[in-house]
């Protein structure tokens, strides 16, 4: 509702979104949320709070039981044109080279020539520093490299909305920190809006403009914490007192949520 002064509707609106499984369990209950263009929203909470399910509802991969989701004026399935999903694992096609994997999105969209795809993806690979391994197959890459390829593939279609489902959970801390900075750097180039599921409080604070702390059974937004640090953010931020203070605040909120069960 920040944009009321311009009269523009928010980029993404969730109106009382509810999700029930067929066995009657309510995973998400009455989620209300507006997101503006350029928002980086982290979802954090105990397992079973439905944060991954919320991403799947936004992507249209899982249908909503009740309520409405509007993305840039469209329903989720129609809005796939302008969004990309990054999964927990890199989900690369092992029979394609790095270049081939990054080209996949554009290739499936079907309105580009092979030469144009090569050109566009070559530029992107340079941007994420993967030019040297463009001809490599996924099995030759480390976990962190694979995830960078996955990110490059997601960005190749120039999405306006990026959904990231705990993409760095399986990586060691150094790689994770590095990729966090990488994501912010790419965000400076292409101002995409992001929903980011994570278990790491520090990661959420470092990346986000807003953090949604969720409670489980049923999944609800228990608290929203704004992160006002200006962009671009650098690794120096991680040792700043105000950063650590914000981490403490989110951790405390998370403990209250967990303590309730």
């Amino acid at each position: 509702m920040k944009n009321t002064d311009t009269g523009q509707p928010p980029f993404i609106t969730l109106g009382d979104v509810t999700k029930r499984w067929s066995n009657g369990v309510t995973v998400l209950d009455g989620i209300r949320l507006d997101a503006e263009r350029g928002d980086f929203i982290s979802l954090i909470g105990p397992s079973g709070c439905g944060k991954s399910t919320l991403l799947r509802l936004l992507s249209g991969l899982t249908p909503i039981s009740d309520g409405t989701v509007t993305i840039d004026g469209m329903a989720p399935v129609a809005a796939r044109e302008i969004m990309s999903f990054i999964f927990q694992d890199a989900t690369l096609l092992p029979w394609r080279t790095v270049q081939g994997n990054v080209e996949l999105g554009l290739e499936l969209a079907g309105n580009t020539t092979a030469a144009a795809r090569r050109e566009a993806c070559g530029g992107l690979l340079r941007l994420v520093g993967l030019s040297d391994v463009a001809g490599h197959y996924p099995r030759q890459l480390s976990g962190g490299m694979k995830m960078r390829v996955s990110i490059a593939r997601a960005l190749a279609t120039r999405p306006k909305l990026l959904l990231m489902d705990e993409p760095f959970g399986a990586l060691d801390e150094m790689t994770r920190d590095f990729l966090n900075e990488e994501v912010l750097r790419l965000r400076e180039v292409d101002r995409f809006t992001t929903f980011f599921v994570t278990h790491s409080v520090a990661e959420a604070v470092f990346l986000s403009t807003r953090i949604l702390v969720m409670s489980a059974k049923p999944g609800r937004v228990a608290r929203e914490i704004a992160v006002p640090f200006p962009f671009p953010r650098t690794s120096a931020l991680r040792s700043a007192p105000e950063f650590l203070e914000r981490v403490g605040e989110v951790s405390a909120a998370l403990r209250t949520v967990k303590g309730a069960h």
Binding site: F87, L93, L108, Y137, R139
Partner: protein, 263 residues
């Protein structure tokens, strides 16, 4: 090169030991050649009758390859149908198992009775024995695509056709090759079995299967041995051709081919 030599050393030693035992048994127990010919006798027969061995090899190879190719086409098509719906799969799969469990020696004479006795009927026998491993393995490969990859294609609004061509088929390729390797050996067995029943009244000079029956009835045991060796050579040739093809197709990305790569 030295490594290859080392690798070959032990199998070669075993081969020589078996030959020695064989020769020893022939000499010590004075086994008549029509029961067990000695290695030199078999070798002499191979050299002497190589023309008819090659001719028989050709006939059987054509039949085996014909049945094998048929089973690949039909097997992959059936697997594609099976992969489309669990209902179809559940209702038809038991019958494909039946295809595998019915003894081929019992079915072969029926096929040759129903259809014209000849190369095409023998191919049909080879086809029947080859098709099940291909159906089973390809279906498994097509339906075992990881959920996230399917979602990835859904997010890109991929058509059913590109999902099949760019995701399911490449993902099923390693499984298809498992089936192809099994069936490569089976195709030779199928062709030989078919010929045991087929060629007897059709042609004077048939394939390996027919020649085996002939050599057996004439007590030409040395020739019988030569024929068995020729058959094994054919089986190995098929198997290694398919394995080589598999390596070519999968070497960059699949575990099974990578292991060969690493050696």
């Amino acid at each position: 090169m030295r490594k290859m030599f080392k690798e070959a050393l032990w199998p070669a030693a075993v081969f020589l030991a078996v030959l020695a035992l064989w020769q020893g048994a022939c000499t010590v127990f004075r086994i008549p050649p029509y029961v067990l010919p000695s290695p030199p006798q078999v070798f002499a027969t191979v050299v002497e009758r190589h023309a008819s061995l090659v001719a028989a090899f050709r006939i059987t190879a054509v039949e085996a390859v014909g049945g094998y190719l048929m089973s690949i086409v039909v097997g992959v098509l059936v697997a594609l149908v099976f992969a489309q719906s669990p209902v179809v799969r559940r209702s038809l799969f038991p019958y494909t198992i039946l295809l595998q469990t019915v003894p081929i020696v019992a079915v072969a004479p029926l096929i040759l009775m129903w259809f014209k006795s000849g190369a095409s009927s023998v191919m049909l026998v080879a086809f029947i024995i080859c098709v099940f491993p291909i159906i089973a393995n390809t279906t498994q490969g097509l339906i075992s695509v990881p959920r996230n990859l399917v979602d990835l294609f859904a997010m890109a609004n991929a058509s059913r056709a590109s999902q099949l061509l760019k995701l399911r088929l490449p993902h099923a390729l390693p499984s298809l090759f498992v089936g192809l390797r099994i069936s490569a050996g089976l195709s030779v067995i199928g062709a030989i079995t078919g010929e045991l029943f087929a060629s007897s009244n059709a042609v004077g000079e048939g394939g390996l299967g027919y020649s085996i029956t002939y050599a057996n009835s004439q007590l030409q045991t040395d020739y019988l041995f030569a024929l068995v060796i020729t058959t094994s050579v054919m089986g190995c040739l098929f198997f290694f051709t398919v394995t080589g093809l598999e390596w070519l197709c999968l070497r960059h990305w699949h575990e099974s081919a990578m292991k060969v790569d690493a050696d």
